[in-house]
Amino acid sequence: MRLHLGGHLNWYDAQRRTDVEVRLAERMPLLDLLHQLGVPRSEIIVAAVNGRAVPIEDAWVADGDRVDLYPPVGGG
């Protein structure tokens, strides 16, 4: 699956990657994946799976999905 870390979320990736390819052996809760990757839940305000906005707590992801994550942005 492809994970997009929008805004400042790629600061939490050791390599500062905006787009991360992840191999998933089986479906898993999005929260578990975030925990594995070290991206804090508290920094995410919008999550979309395959282009549709989803509640983060309820979302599951699988190999082949595209997941977009965005932090709160404060104007500019």
């Binding site: 929008g6 805004g7 400042h8 979320l9 600061w11 939490y12 905006t18 804090p40 839940r41 508290s42 920094e43 305000i45 919008v46 979309a48 906005a53 977009d68 965005y70 932090p71 709160p72 942005v73 404060g74 104007g75 500019g76």
Partner: protein, 635 residues
């Protein structure tokens, strides 16, 4: 004893061609320590009611903040303040760059321009030496040519030049002022006020240092070193350095609040062509900074392809990317960069200009204006060439550009029909590219702001939505305790809003950029308090700083009350009370009942009369500005 300011204001009487110096005492500075507060104080004290904003009786104040020029990140800002020709209200706009710090180093806290010069002039300031020079040969020329000419004339390659382009000369009501070609007092038409006075430029060079005005400079110097090292160690400042403001485009699109086709929609099908990744690949040539700032959020761009875009004027911020992009239905980044560059060459506010073009596009699509009106320009959404032609016509006041140069409020009145519904403004100032249907507090800021729709009035709601987030934790020392969803409209939301509004207002007094302090970025509240106290020796707490911001807002509010503005003017465009047509918030609209109730809560919490929106005598006395009610004739 030094207390952070130079203590001196330079008054320039352009009609007489004379100057004089006013010195303010420490007690006055404690109430009005710079920027917005000092400007509002001077405006209320010196400007009679009901002056023509573009006449000689208006005054233009250019005021540094208390910490402007201090050697740490984002302490760069100064305010331009006058009665606004766009709104008729108290007018204000901040800019960063290098000019504000240079003014302080030349020994001046502020410059006040009065009257009107008999012919175009520019003002040369070299420390105490001030000259009013002929600028006939500079009038009509572009900023790069003018800056080059002034630096040649002074023989000094680093004279900091603040100036207007032809947008200001032609009195476009939303003309900007630029300094160092890349930094803008964009909003409220301050460039038109400068143009009305026939002042082309102000060149400044100072030999002093900020530290000579500080009570104890050493802690501020150490803070500067710490912030320079720490900029990459904080997610928000790192992000601003990496991407700048264009980094937020796709996030807003995903949230369903990327203004699209004049705020009809909240998601743009062409977002992939205008988002940060495309910007970095297609436009970016360098990351640039302001004075002493490690954040380096300014973008430099260059295009030599379908369009020619110079690298001299600074790249588009998010506001221009969305304004000329999604909100005009244009997904061509090169055209967006060109529109932004034209605004910068002409010194037009990119936010208002883009909103005016989007308004004209919608009027065109609804048949309210036709090809006969546009000189044959096919002004439908998505037509990049048409958009660029409009920017040119506005700056030159040519054809329909002459009407559009008046702003959407006046243009809608002239066009008639449903045009008023397409005019996205508050008090005459066009909306920035943030949709209150997804950020309720931003809508309150638009409505309540003393100078019309403004997106920098308070922290944006998403940054205060999660109690565990970096941004929320950064705001807690201000007294913000309860995290709330972005669309929440409860009284508690209003509590958060009023605290955040006082903080943002204080930033405009102190001279800090929005991209420095928490909650937007990485300078912690306690470090701002420390820096203020090191500069002044006043021993203030955070509440004293919040009070500075609140006092400035109340002065501006009183100015507006004198000009007849009240609760009826604190409104939002009708379109925001209709549902978004697509995206994550499809079907979502603001509720009029929620908005009116929250507006009453704002007044109540701020100590303003809930029927009129005017500050009460008790509130003014508590802020130490009881005199201002009489000056504003609202006793």
């Amino acid at each position: 004893m030094a207390f952070g300011t130079t203590g001196r204001i330079l008054w320039v009487d352009l009609t007489q061609g004379t100057t004089y110096v006013e010195t303010l005492d420490e007690a006055t500075y404690r109430l009005y320590p710079g920027g917005k507060a000092l400007g509002a104080y001077l405006l209320l004290r010196h400007l009679p009611a009901n002056v023509d904003p573009l006449g000689p009786d208006n005054i233009l104040v250019l005021a540094s903040g208390l910490l402007t020029g201090a050697p740490f990140s984002t302490a760069t800002r100064f305010s331009a303040i006058a009665r606004s020709p766009l709104t008729g209200t108290y007018g204000e706009s901040e800019a960063a760059g290098f000019w504000g710090p240079e003014l302080k180093m030349a020994g001046w806290e502020a410059i006040v321009l009065t009257g009107r010069a008999p012919q175009p002039v520019w003002i040369h300031i070299r420390d105490d030496k001030v000259e009013i020079r002929d600028a006939t040969h500079l009038w009509g020329h572009e900023p790069l040519e003018v800056q080059t000419a002034i630096r040649a004339e002074t023989g000094d390659k680093v004279t900091r030049v603040l100036q207007i382009g032809i947008g200001g000369e032609n009195l476009v009501r939303y003309a900007a002022i630029t300094n160092d070609l890349r930094h803008y007092n964009g909003r409220n038409g301050m460039g038109a006020v400068m143009g009305s006075k026939l002042v082309k430029a102000i060149g400044v060079r100072g030999s002093g240092k900020w530290i000579q005005y500080a009570h104890d400079a050493q802690p501020v110097v150490e803070l500067g070193r710490r912030l320079a090292k720490g900029v990459k160690e904080h997610p928000q400042s790192w992000d601003l350095q990496e991407k700048g403001t264009p980094g937020i485009t796709s996030a807003l699109n995903a949230a369903g609040i990327l203004p699209t086709r004049n705020f009809h929609q909240g998601a743009f099908e062409g977002v992939d062509n205008i988002k940060w990744e495309a910007y970095e690949k297609e436009l970016l040539t360098a990351r640039k900074s302001c004075y002493a700032c490690a954040v380096r959020c300014k973008r430099e761009v260059r295009v030599d392809d379908r369009y020619q875009v110079s690298d001299q004027y600074g790249g588009p911020e998010y506001e221009a990317v969305s304004g000329f992009g999604s909100n005009c239905g244009v997904d061509d980044l090169q055209a967006i960069a060109k529109a932004n560059e034209l605004c910068n060459r002409y010194t037009l506010d990119a936010i208002s200009t883009a909103s005016v073009v989007a308004f004209a596009m919608e009027c065109f699509e609804h048949g309210l204006i036709g090809l006969d009106d546009t000189d044959g320009v096919d002004l439908r959404f998505g037509h990049a060439e048409a958009m660029l032609q409009m920017v040119d016509m506005i700056a030159q006041r040519r054809g329909i550009g002459n009407l559009l140069a008046e702003g959407v409020k006046r243009a809608a009145q002239a066009i008639g029909g449903d045009a008023h519904f397409f005019a996205m403004h508050v008090k005459g100032q066009e909306l920035p590219m943030h949709d209150p249907r997804g950020k309720f507090g931003v809508g309150l800021g638009y409505a309540v702001s003393e100078n019309g729709a403004d997106h920098l009035v308070a922290a944006h709601d998403p940054t205060l939505a999660n109690a565990e987030s970096v941004s929320f934790k950064g705001a807690m020392p201000l007294g913000i305790r309860v995290a709330l969803p972005p669309r929440d409209s409860s009284r508690q939301k209003v509590v958060n809003y009023t605290i955040a509004e006082n903080w943002n207002s204080a930033e405009k007094v102190i001279g800090l950029c929005f991209f420095g302090p928490a909650p937007r970025s990485y300078i912690q509240v306690e470090d701002v308090v420390m820096a203020v106290n090191a500069a002044t020796g006043w021993g203030w707490g955070v509440n004293d700083i919040l009070a500075v911001g609140e006092r400035a807002t109340n002065l501006a509010r009183l100015f507006n009350a004198r000009e007849g503005f009240g609760r009826a003017d604190d409104r939002l465009p009708d379109r925001l009370f209709t549902p978004l047509e697509n995206g994550a918030l499809e079907g979502v609209a603001l509720s009029r009942d929620d908005f009116e109730r929250a507006l009453t809560d704002v007044y109540d919490l701020k100590g303003w009369d809930t029927d009129t929106g005017v500050p009460t005598p008790q509130k003014l006395d508590s802020l130490g500005i009881g005199w201002a009610a009489e000056a504003a004739d609202v006793t």
